[in-house]
């Protein structure tokens, strides 16, 4: 069941002299099964946007529909919506509160009204999906490393078995390898369970490598909504939004501009290297 945003706007401080349009007439269809990236720099409205997806914020104008129903309706069950649309906030480890990891992961499913047994099963399943080390299931949260905490927190949302998993900057503050581990894990979740993943990021590199659709936010509006390859053809506009394009793409374009026949739409290091090699030597691979 898709999530549909129909001309959604969100205005803060509407009654003051300085109203802030955090979202400005955003219309999007988010179908099930996609791996979507939302990019934009700080203040572009991307974090506000994702809070509309599970009813934490309601639009000041426009509508959000889930399963064909307006989530702002009085009799709409928001708790049910939050079960289907799991939202992982930035630095999610800051929300851990139970004495051990396992109890914390059980919090979500228990809130959903599952029995103790069912909740524990869901928690086991979620911890396994995020590759959380077995021996640490009952460890105190304070004994974990940064990356492990992050995984435990993601498992806490995953345990509710959502159809949509929205991750707001899941890699913030991690080192490069920790970053790729989390992104690989998320990507595997998408492949294995067919879950819709919405990855909010300000890193073009991350987005280029993983997602199939990119939504670029700029000053509360949707600036682009297309495949990564298509979106990155707008290098200059992206640059103006403070975003830029992946470094590999940038290098390929620089070479192309110098008259070397490189494919200007490469996205990753490997693609760039292959294309440059072919162009320079005249050989394929």
């Amino acid at each position: 069941m898709p999530l549909i945003l129909d001309h959604v706007s969100q205005v803060y401080n509407a009654d003051t002299e300085t109203p802030v349009r955090a979202l400005d007439d955003v219309s999007l269809v988010l179908p099930e099964g996609q791996f979507i990236g939302i990019i934009g720099h700080t203040g572009s409205g991307k974090s506000t946007l994702v809070q509309h997806l599970n009813g934490l914020m309601l639009p000041t104008s426009g509508n959000v529909y889930y399963n064909g129903r307006d989530i702002a309706d009085k009799d709409f069950n928001k708790k049910e919506l939050r079960k289907h649309v799991g939202l992982v906030f930035q630095y999610p480890e800051h929300q851990l509160f139970e004495t051990d990891v396992f109890a914390d992961v059980c919090f979500g499913p228990k809130n959903m009204g599952l029995s103790k047994k069912e909740a524990e099963l869901a928690a086991f399943d979620a911890l396994r999906k995020v590759d959380f080390p077995n021996e640490l299931y009952y460890a105190s949260v304070f004994e974990l490393s940064g990356g492990q905490k992050r995984r435990a927190a993601i498992a806490g949302v995953l345990a509710m078995k959502p159809d949509f998993l929205v991750l707001d900057e899941p890699t913030a503050g991690l080192d490069p390898v920790g970053r790729y581990e989390i992104l690989d894990m998320v990507s595997a979740l998408h492949k294995e369970s067919g879950m819709t993943i919405i990855l909010v990021s300000h890193s073009m590199e991350d987005v280029a490598r993983y997602v199939e659709r990119v939504i670029v936010m700029d000053r509360g509006k949707v600036a682009f909504d297309d495949t990564p390859r298509e979106v990155f053809t707008h290098g200059e506009e992206l640059e103006a939004m403070g975003l830029g394009i992946p470094e590999s793409t940038r290098i390929a374009r620089m070479l192309k501009a110098k008259g070397i026949g490189v494919d200007p739409d490469v996205l990753t290091v490997t693609e760039a290297a292959d294309s440059i090699y072919a162009a320079v030597t005249g050989k394929d691979k």
């Binding site: 720099h41 913030a172 080192d175 300000h202 830029g244 470094e247 320079v280």
Partner: protein, 283 residues
């Protein structure tokens, strides 16, 4: 003269159980030797938990060596009488921009250090102004820190350290919590300090592209210095860097891939511009 000199520095964390009996000893720093000369830009790289932040805290006498010695501005950090001289000699900027700004107005925060040092009022104002100007934050002097972006807050923190007139400035992952544009502005400010003000800079980070312009780089892993040299020397060895869980800059990785395929490129290409120039030569 060396501004910072660590000789066979060892630091051990002792973990204790509830009764206070030691249960476990972790060696966070293992015979580290690092020296920094006046005016240098030094990069210290390593993944989370490699010991680089522990090292930084020794330079400011927040932590003391278990073994070995650390000299800052020629003073032994173990010397209790010199504690405040050490701290005003090596200024520290930390990771979290929110947790190191004390003042409620930008200029008052920058004045905090000089106030602690007992600098006369008139001079505090001069120092605040010059420091804010050095990081390009002068026009924000009357603003509340809560209204600034992450990158701006970190620049205020840097100004706060500069106002103490240190001989060197140590930045402990100042960009880890920032977005790309915030990172860029902070790195630009740091480079400006080194280029223009000739300030000795020790930048600790896990982003390799931030230290491309450093004079020398030390790479740390498991509490040890495992690589050291100029950026070019360090970045030439891509496999080792990847094994150390570090993110090699895009142009360096592409150059390395191409070299593997047989293109005659030189070692340790650092920037996109350089890569494009070298590839053109190959044709």
């Amino acid at each position: 003269m060396d501004i910072v000199k660590a000789e066979n520095l060892v630091f051990e964390y002792i973990r204790r159980d509830e009764e206070g009996n030691p249960t476990d000893v972790t060696t966070a720093l293992d015979h580290v030797n690092i020296d920094v000369r006046q005016g240098e830009f030094i990069g210290i790289l390593g993944h989370n938990g490699s010991g680089k932040s522990t090292f930084a805290k020794h330079l400011n006498a927040i932590l003391y060596p278990t073994e070995g010695t650390v000299y800052v501005g020629g003073m032994n950090t173990m010397d209790d009488d010199k504690l405040w001289d050490v701290r005003s000699c090596a200024g520290m900027v930390f990771q979290n921009p929110d947790n190191q700004i004390i003042g409620q107005v930008v200029e008052e925060d920058v004045g905090f250090g000089p106030e602690n040092l007992g600098v006369p009022t008139k001079e505090i104002w001069e120092r605040v102004e010059e420091s804010l100007r050095a990081v390009g934050m002068l026009e924000y002097r009357k603003k509340s820190p809560n209204k600034l972006s992450g990158g701006q807050k970190q620049r205020v923190s840097i100004a706060g350290v500069l106002a103490m007139h240190p001989k060197c400035i140590v930045l402990d992952e100042p960009t880890a919590m920032l977005d790309p544009s915030g990172r860029k502005e902070v790195v630009r400010a740091i480079r400006g300090l080194n280029d223009v003000e000739k300030m000795t800079v020790i930048l600790i980070t896990h982003y390799m592209d931030e230290v491309v312009h450093a004079d020398r780089i030390f790479v740390m892993d498991k509490g040890k210095v495992v690589m050291q040299g100029t950026p070019r020397e360090i970045f030439a060895d891509v496999p080792t860097l990847e094994k150390l869980r570090l993110d090699v800059p895009g142009p360096t990785r592409i150059a390395w891939e191409l070299k593997k395929k047989g293109l005659p490129l030189p070692d340790g290409i650092l920037t996109a511009e350089e890569l494009v120039k070298e590839i053109k030569k190959c044709r």
